[in-house]
Symmetry: C2
Subunit: 460 residues, 2 copies
């Protein structure tokens, strides 16, 4: 096979490299569980390059890992088994913004934040927004159907993709959908590529649907006593005439680690078991929201609360929520999970999860936060000081099985937005039935009969 890699390198000079340092860098994503070990790296400039490279790999059965900004959290872009990393990083072209249809066509390697900047002068945005937007790429966002903090307002990435250009394993180029809002001409193949983590084809270009940039946003932080109060407040917020652009929550253990790690003061005088960050769009003025805030106090719906009076206060409140992930890693070793539940089942899920974990794993520190308005919980179990890293990670697998059993019992998903990749593959059966997995394998066989695209990811 070594000869084939050499041949590939010779056929695509300046595009394919086997430089060791580059391979180590491009062979991994944000996860650090698997050591990178790719055989080669390709940095194509055009769709034609991608097509020619894939045709060569398909002919010779060479495995390929499609690669974006490598900000994924489930190992979907890790090349640990001698694959070719096919990076879209050089394909960053952005066409002029179409201000009639509110669309823009970009190459897959365009950086999320660059797309935002490209659209901003026209009063438009691509409302896919999350912490790693400075390095994540459009193609990777689409291939993983990325979520984030604004899903409650705008939905997942899936909703903001009009057209896709995709290269199949055999090098065939598909143009799917273009700039069309409507196209009911049989099964919609775009939808299969969105969220399939590079196992069915390589996304090379996309026509993105754009949204008007939001108007004035108002940010609240609330303290409440329990999860029931978080959900009760959610129902209350839905009665306002405004748009909910974020409804996030976190618990006191998250806040404690954040204040320990950063120069941040607790938001309220008294600690509270639960905190809610609410962002509303469309209020005529911040003052106009004060009576509503007062009424929440009066009716006992919150134990404390604050409404940001200007943008720096709003940013400070957001920092309490967005800083959590980094602070958990900076102050300890978290074992992360990203689960989704039907919103109506969140309370019973959390009660049973607490019961099971308190009984089986007493004394564990659990940091719970996330996009609760979408039913999405980030469950972080922190390593106790007295336990070694090895023991902690070994036990984590056992605990995951318990967590996922509770998730399944409540008809939830073991991966809300992070995907399956390598890290969750062994647990896929908690969310997908044997019949579904058989269909997924059948579809894989149709799109990639030789199985060269991201082998071993999502499903075997």
């Amino acid at each position: 096979m070594s000869d084939l890699w050499s041949e590939l390198e010779q056929r695509f000079p300046g595009i394919v490299t086997r430089d060791r340092a580059e391979l180590m860098e491009y062979g991994r994503d944000f996860t650090r569980v698997h050591a990178p070990d790719p055989s080669a790296l390709a940095l194509p400039r055009t769709t034609e390059d991608v097509s020619a490279i894939l045709a060569f790999c398909n002919e010779h059965g060479l495995p390929v890992v499609p690669s974006g900004g490598r900000t994924g959290l489930s190992g979907g872009a890790v090349a640990a088994k001698g694959e070719l990393v096919l990076s879209l990083a050089r394909m960053r072209r952005m066409d002029p913004v179409d201000t009639v249809g509110n669309t823009v066509r970009v190459q897959a390697g365009a950086i999320t934040e660059a797309v935002h900047a490209h659209c901003e002068p026209h009063g438009l945005t691509w409302p896919v927004d999350f912490a790693s937007k400075g390095s994540s790429q459009v193609g990777g966002n689409i291939a993983t159907n990325a979520g984030g903090v604004k899903v409650i307002r705008y939905g997942l990435t899936r909703q903001w993709v009009l057209g896709l250009q995709v290269v199949l394993a055999n090098g065939q180029v598909l143009e799917l959908g273009g700039a069309l809002e409507k196209n009911n001409t049989g099964a919609d193949l775009r939808q299969l590529f969105i969220g399939s983590e590079g196992t069915l084809g390589v996304i090379t270009e996309a026509t993105l649907k754009l949204s008007r940039r939001p108007g004035k946003l108002d940010v609240f932080l609330f303290a409440v006593d329990d999860l029931a109060a978080v959900l009760h407040l959610f129902r209350e917020v839905k009665q306002t005439p405004y748009l909910i652009s974020a409804y996030e929550f976190f618990t006191q253990p998250c806040l404690e680690r954040l204040t320990r790690h950063r120069a941040v003061r607790p938001p309220f005088g008294t600690p509270s078991p639960f905190y809610v960050l609410l962002e509303l769009e469309g209020a005529p003025s911040t003052d106009a929201l004060e009576p509503w805030l007062s009424s929440l106090f009066e009716r006992g719906l919150v134990t404390d609360g604050t409404l940001a009076q200007h943008s720096s206060e709003a940013a400070a409140l957001w920092q309490l929520r967005e800083g959590i992930s980094e602070s958990l890693s900076a102050t300890g070793l978290p074992h992360k999970n990203d689960v989704a539940l039907p919103i109506a089942s969140l309370e019973s899920f959390c009660a049973e999860f607490e019961r099971v974990f308190t009984a089986r794993y007493p004394g564990l520190e659990i940091c719970l936060f996330g996009h609760i308005g979408d039913g999405n919980l980030h469950v972080n179990v922190m390593k106790p000081d007295a336990v070694s890293k090895e023991e902690f990670l070994r036990d984590a697998k056992k605990r995951d099985l318990d967590l996922f059993a509770v998730v399944r019992a409540h008809r939830g998903s073991i991966s809300a937005e992070h995907g399956i990749g390598l890290l969750k593959k062994d647990y896929l059966h908690f969310t997908r039935s044997p019949e579904e997995m058989a269909l997924l394998r059948g579809i894989k066989g149709v799109f990639d009969p030789k199985g060269i695209l991201n082998p071993g990811k999502v499903i075997d």
Copy 2:
């Protein structure tokens, strides 16, 4: 095969019938091109019934046409070749509305309007809305990814489906998604069933995502000189701080037939080549919109315009748009097409379409209307009095080829929302490439290897 139909009837007493009158009724949809000729009709009460019936048909290779409210316009639910019609009409259960997660689970046979009524007391709605909502069913809406007049505000049916229960051709029952907003666990199989017109499986239940009922709506009617002005006005409307809940257009020939058919007065003193119906959501009061309306006159963006002052005026304006389809059929014989274009290409498309048709088919009356804010045009060619019906329909096929060639040249779709079914099957290649069609066939083979589900629809 006759013995098999008898056996099916005996195995499912009270569910399967071969009554001729019933077969004629259930064997057709809103199209009248193909004569119905089903062999049997099944009216299952439960998912288990559907599963058992499909398992029997799959074992014996009996063809099955899944059937909803039969309001389709492309023959997707027509049983013209001795099939079993599998109607979901008896499966109308609606579970209690989940007011925490804003979802409701219903059986596929629930009528669209009944779902609206079921959700209304909770201030919620399933925002899938079109003229045939009084008889269309949820399962059929999903299987065809139905559109309508509110797509610009809410998107297609696809956006309002959280979970699906689907029975495969072999009788296997899939539960996909449930009440989850987020579930990134590999390719999303739900998306394949949405819009696949009953060729991949039979939808038996769905968990619907609900929206808050809209607030105050304001309806305008405008007169403008040409399509460029329609699109210029569209850009202007997008600058207002309000939500666009409809942006529809029609031409003078549409209005002439409407006023001839119904007791309706023209909206303005002088006829105009183009009319735009605009519905806005979120204005604090109707009065608050008057200055904006005046500014449109002052800046010459419209030649005439009116703003409904109360709900009966708004309904009267809507009638001008919604009555068109019926008035065309009542005053003549229209040959209908339902095409979509990138919004940015609408003007050049219409110019070329007019050029081609004026040159090749001079004197034809063409009634153009539709959801122009979605790039969706309903193109209706009216039969001239001097031409026989037979000649007109024969020539229609030739004209369709010319129309679709212009659609293709502008990267449009030959079916925006009506689907492919039987009527557009021969033209599918104008929108889908040979590579795509090969993938569609491959997927069909995975889901329905014996090809019993809606054979001959969409693709062979």
